[in-house]
């Protein structure tokens, strides 16, 4: 992972605080990693976002 460790920790911390799953954290961090590399195809990106949306637990945002 070439992303700064402080950012990784901050993403993890904030997602955990909102009760989000380790799977979602992994998906987001993977996305960050891929964003740092070559362009992601639109279809691929759409699939990734849809997987992320499935994982998000909305009831914890209260």
């Amino acid at each position: 992972m070439s992303l700064d460790k402080t950012i990784i920790n901050s993403i993890k911390k904030n997602l955990e605080e909102k009760g989000q799953s380790p799977d979602l954290i992994k998906l987001i961090l993977d996305w960050c990693e891929r964003k740092d590399g070559a362009k992601i195809l639109v279809e691929e990106k759409t699939n990734l976002i849809e997987r992320i949306l499935e994982e998000i637990k909305i009831e914890h945002d209260t």
Partner: protein, 659 residues
């Protein structure tokens, strides 16, 4: 990812024709490039920057790059070679001085030359002007990292520590949401509502972009005029303070003027309070109103009195005109009575009478005439003192009137722009706000949130909207926290280096917010101090970053003491990224020799000079005499680098002529 600058060459430009190769034994080491003043350091640095992002050249700009006098050619070029993770790529800028145009060509990963600007992936995604401005830097111009209105230091953190990735993700999420909304547009009446709201949503987004652009322009203006404003104000203040008598006079006048201003404001405020009591009359208006009501009373009007008048009249045998009254005439009078004054009208007239009576009594207590006079007097006193102050300032600064006027103009414009940045864009959202009527980013962003919610309801995409809003908020928060933590860690790390490197004259960093803030107890840092802290900041952030990009610095140790130079050399020797420093003869002592000492053969020393007999002879002594007839020559090796001394009689006129 490792990016290195390998070489560059130029021909037909205002600087001598050089071909500089930074590789030594096929390796890239920390490099010092010695270029005497007037050989095109700034031109080279700028064109290297332009090879990393697409710059739009103006015809005036192109013309400035031409060779002068006997060196003029109709065309010229600048070509740079880079290596990204082991693969070479080239960017070339071709100048057509006859038509005053410039165009790009690029060759990436053995793809041959293409007539366009192109960078290999993923550089084309990562690189932008802001990043390159930080990596190819003239330290004399690094003050932007320290200015209130600039965000260079924050931008550096965002770019090198890749905080920007979170912005890109947030942007993608927003794009996905919009796409889903558009796919879900139903037909019928609802479709029209959606279209209307989509149009409003677009207007809000456009307004946000417009305001953000304005914010950048204003910050740029404030930053660009800050030095001029501060220095000009200081010069004028010093002139005034030079003459003690004038200084005293001015202080007196200033005190009187300020007092008069307070009096004037107080009088205005009092007057306003009185005026707020609607219906309070004074002066001629009061007299007229009194006469008017008295007239109504004399006429025994309105309704009640009028009724009595007409009732009494019809009882008489004769009218007031003397004519005999009969039944028909009496009936006529009674029917006409309503025309003269209706019940409604009578009520109004009664109200007028009541209001005039009560308010004229009130005005006896509040003499607005006196207040008006007080306002006039205090305004006159204030204006006179302002004029006196201006007159005294102008007579004191009679030799600097142009500067005085310019500073006044700057003061006014800067105040307006500061107000916009400090207040206008931060005004809270009000329900009545519309994108057309506000420039508050706070309000516009709230309007956008509400519009997004409305659209989600209309299109049935509420779940996507709430999930994306939740994730966006989490990521925004993560970004802010990470930025703050990185900034604080960097400040600590920089201060450790400052302690070591700036032993004689340490100026410590208090915090890094948008810009670098120096510790409060110290006076404002000089340009030299800022340059030193600037390079420490960049070296520290590059050490931390996973991006291995070249750091190209003009005048890296200007103004540093011996210890500072030595320690900077140590820091450079330990840097994992490529380092290229443009130096002049006077920078070498305790710097280049120290780098040589610390790195041994693992450093690179190059000298590029405009050819003349003396330098060519010296190069000959080092078996590096030029072969051809070009106007520039490049010599590799520490011995020549160390021995080379700049011409002492070089002056600005030469520079202008040559540059």
């Amino acid at each position: 990812m490792i990016l290195n600058l390998i070489s560059w060459k130029s021909d037909g430009l205002r600087c001598p024709n050089f071909a500089v190769n930074l590789e030594k034994n096929r390796n890239i080491y920390p490099t010092f490039l010695q270029m005497p003043n007037g050989t095109g350091k700034t031109t080279t640095l700028t064109l290297l920057q332009y090879c990393m992002y697409e710059h739009e050249f103006t015809s005036k700009e192109v013309w400035q790059y031409r060779g002068k006098k006997k060196n003029y050619k109709e065309t010229g070029f600048f070509e740079a070679k880079f290596k990204l993770d082991g693969a070479n790529f080239y960017i070339k800028i071709e100048f057509d001085f006859k038509n005053k145009t410039a165009s790009y060509s690029s060759s990436i990963r053995d793809g041959g030359w293409k007539k366009e600007f192109d960078l290999p992936e993923p550089l084309n995604i990562i690189i932008d002007k802001g990043l390159i401005d930080l990596l190819f830097i003239d330290l004399e111009k690094c003050q932007t990292m320290f200015r209130n209105n600039q965000t260079e230091a924050q931008e550096a953190i965002r770019k090198f520590c890749k905080v920007n990735i979170l912005d890109k993700i947030i942007n993608d999420l927003d794009g996905y949401k919009t796409k889903k909304r558009k796919e879900a547009v139903p037909s019928g009446a609802l479709a029209n509502d959606i279209l209307t709201e989509e149009a409003r949503n677009t207007t809000i987004r456009s307004k946000i972009t417009e305001v953000e652009k304005k914010v950048q322009e204003y910050k740029k203006y404030l930053n660009e005029t800050e030095e001029e404003f501060k220095n000009g104000t200081k010069i004028l203040k010093e002139k005034i303070e030079k003459d003690k008598e004038i200084k005293k006079k001015m202080e007196n006048l200033e005190a009187k003027r300020d007092k008069a201003k307070i009096n004037y404001q107080k009088a205005l405020s009092e007057n306003f309070e009185k005026i707020k009591k609607i219906g309070t009359y004074e002066g001629i208006l009061q007299d007229n109103l009194k006469d008017f009501v008295a007239g109504l009373d004399d006429l025994q009007l309105p309704e009640e009195d009028a009724t009595v008048f007409f009732d009494e009249l019809v009882k008489r045998d004769k009218c007031v005109c003397g004519e005999k009254l009969d039944d028909i005439k009496r009936k006529n009078i009674l029917s006409e009575r309503e025309k003269y004054i209706s019940i409604d009208a009578a009520t109004i007239v009664n109200k007028i009478k009541y209001s005039v009576n009560s308010n004229t009594k009130e005005s006896d207590k509040t003499d607005l005439d006196a207040l008006a006079k007080n306002i006039q007097d205090s305004k006159h006193e204030y204006d006179t003192l302002v004029d006196d102050f201006k007159l005294l300032t102008k007579s004191t600064l009679k030799d600097d009137l142009e500067l005085h006027d310019r500073i006044q103009e700057l003061k006014k414009t800067r105040k307006e722009k500061e107000k916009f940045l400090d207040t206008t864009i931060k005004k809270i959202w009000l329900a009545k706000d519309k994108p057309e009527t506000t420039e508050s980013l706070v309000s516009l962003k709230e309007q956008l949130v509400l519009s997004n919610k409305k659209l989600a309801n209309l299109t049935g995409t509420q779940e996507i909207e709430s999930k994306i809003t939740l994730l966006t908020n989490i990521l925004e928060n993560a970004k802010i926290e990470a930025e703050q933590e990185i900034a604080s860690e960097l400040a600590i790390e920089c201060n450790k280096k400052i302690k070591k490197m700036l032993t004689k004259d340490p100026v410590y960093i208090d915090s890094i917010n948008r810009n670098i803030i120096l510790q409060e107890q110290q006076e404002a840092a000089s340009t030299g101090q800022e340059a030193r802290i600037g390079i420490i900041f960049l070296l520290t952030i590059l050490e931390r970053s996973s991006i291995r990009f070249p750091l190209v610095v003009d005048t890296p140790v200007k103004g540093m003491d011996k210890a500072g130079k030595r320690r900077t050399a140590r820091l450079i020797s330990e840097l994992k990224s490529q380092f290229l420093g443009f130096v002049i003869d006077s920078d070498k002592d305790n710097f280049s020799n120290k780098l040589m000492e610390y790195t041994g053969e693992k450093s690179n020393f190059i000298t590029a000079y405009r050819r003349n007999e003396e330098f060519d002879t010296l190069a000959g002594k080092f078996q590096s005499a030029p072969n051809g007839a070009g106007n520039g020559h490049v010599v590799y090796g520490y011995d020549f680098f160390d021995k080379f001394e700049e011409e002492e009689d070089f002056d600005e006129e030469d520079k202008e002529d040559q540059e």
